[in-house]
């Protein structure tokens, strides 16, 4: 089980109330301090005021596009948000590439379970571990040729 730094702030920015509430409960129960925003401007304001360690940002956020939100965060020299996890129903290669250029660290394809998201958040916030031994010593962990990892597993 991953240790959670108590009170680590996670901002969930999603226009869907069911997703927002479910993730809030799941993250709170996992020991995080979950914050919620239902629109792009609200997410930016909350990020600026609360300085979350991580933002879960839905691609279909309203009032601004997710890319506008990310660009605004990138322009802000005070660096209001630690990491960005981009989630969405229609996440394709283009969105992932564009997100990566704007600071996205990982992507998850909707729909996902709350448990999956908490696990991903935990992995993203885990302190970097010492360099692993060479691949030849532990065996290759690359997926077999012709079988790419699913887009819900993308780490950038």
């Amino acid at each position: 089980m991953n240790m959670v730094q108590p009170g680590t702030r996670i901002l969930v920015a999603d226009s869907d109330r069911a997703v927002l509430e479910m993730l809030q409960i799941r993250l709170d129960l996992a020991g995080y301090h979950a914050l919620a925003a239902r629109s792009g401007p609200a997410a930016l304001e909350m990020a600026h005021n609360m300085r979350p360690a991580l933002m879960v940002l839905d691609l279909a956020i309203t009032e601004m596009t997710a890319f506008e939100v990310m660009a605004a965060l990138q322009r802000d020299v005070s660096r209001p948000c630690g990491q960005i996890l981009l989630v969405g129903k229609r996440l394709g290669v283009d969105e992932v590439k564009r997100g990566a250029a704007l600071g996205v660290r990982a992507c998850m394809l909707k729909p996902f379970s709350g448990a999956d998201l908490v696990e991903r958040v935990s992995k993203m916030l885990k302190p970097a571990s010492p360099a692993p031994p060479p691949a030849s010593a532990v065996g290759s962990r690359m997926p077999p040729a012709g079988r790419p990892s699913s887009s819900s597993d993308v780490f950038i």
Binding site: D16, I25, R26, S113
Partner: protein
Amino acid sequence: MVASELRSDVAATFDVLSWELELAGARCIFLDTLIGKLLGTVAPEHREQLIEGIQAVDLLSQHLTGLSTFARSLSQTVAAPEQIEVGAALQSVTLGALADRMTSSFGGDEAGINDGDDAGDLDLF
């Protein structure tokens, strides 16, 4: 759009159902944790009853999470973009906040009248 006229594709309908079941499951886990905290504060003679309650809520949570996983899997296997009418079905949902949230998830206008304390939905935060 008026809720009674709402239409949605089958995959999105399963998605909305899946999120709602997952939310209900998460609320059960919240309740389960809460009862667990109470356990240490009650007299020993009442603990057995509370433990039974924890087990029941835990089972309910697993039940809902399982159904959510099922609905999510179905949404990923539906290929045809066939539209179905969800408006009439939504009107049969009597829990105000739930109907309002689902209407919003399907792209309809939120009535906004079901967010109050008397909405009948559990307000945890």
